[in-house]
Symmetry: C2
């Protein structure tokens, strides 16, 4: 796989630096979009158990705040501030940890994420990509459990939205 420009997202996937979860799921884009953009819904699926998402703030526009608080089983607490970069309803969401609300730098260059929702006969082709600044950060993210974690969260999102 070589570097690919995604015309929709304006991001470029580089297999040397980036991680990807791509899966077709039996839920339409409109419901997955709601799961990603309504705090009450997002908190129900965003973190694989036993972690929980205990707070979420969403200001859904380029430059708007995306904040999640994740709590672990041993009292761990991660308060993540990010900023939306691209918002195309039911199609595309791009956000980054490197900026906060109003595009102010955060000093946390961990990732930019893009999520795309493409309608299919059976539901949605779901693609979530994490872009990193270097190979070390990609490896760190892999070792934190990117593949299992994002996949388990997607399972939770599908279970939640199938019943809606």
């Amino acid at each position: 796989m070589t570097a690919q420009t995604n015309a929709v997202t304006a991001t470029v996937f580089d297999p040397r630096l980036d991680l990807e979860l791509k899966r077709e799921v039996p839920v339409p884009p409109a419901l997955l979009w709601r799961a990603w953009t309504e705090p009450d819904l997002l908190m129900k699926w965003f973190t694989p158990a036993p972690w929980r998402t205990t707070a979420c703030e969403i200001d859904l526009k380029p430059g708007g705040l995306f904040r999640t608080v994740m709590e672990g089983p041993n009292g761990e607490k991660n308060d993540n501030i990010g900023c939306y970069l691209a918002v195309e309803p039911e199609k595309l969401l791009v956000f980054t940890s490197a900026l906060g609300p109003g595009y102010r730098p955060t000093g946390n260059s961990f990732l930019t994420a893009s999520v795309t929702f493409e309608p299919t006969a059976a539901g949605t082709l779901y693609t979530a990509v994490a872009l990193h600044k270097d190979e070390a950060t990609k490896t760190q993210h892999e070792e934190m459990g990117f593949h299992h974690g994002w996949s388990a969260a997607l399972d939770q999102m599908v279970a939640l939205t199938k019943g809606m």
Copy 2:
């Protein structure tokens, strides 16, 4: 002065963290816009002498590359990679050092900059803001000569565009 939301830019100016150059200049927004967005023009005014801008790449869209190479009188060389966040022709330009092309994090959280161009009877009310992640970075930028540097560059831009 307290924190102010700029409806046009979606950025929020915080006097504790940020720096601003605001001045009315006798050139219309259309020419200042060209000076900011055409590499051949930008290289002529972007750095106060004796520094020179020796290369410039502009991909003028949200997520697009903004690169400048600045060279100093003693052989210093700064290669700056950034990314446009908002592009509204003749009105607003927002870019950041924290992201590169395709919104990929750079690890350089020095600043996000917004430049606004408001037409006036005499020309343009020009406002350039540098947003920082903390007070230390603001102070560092001030000590690097923000006020003199951005003001001298604006003088050069006005001198260039008045003749166009």
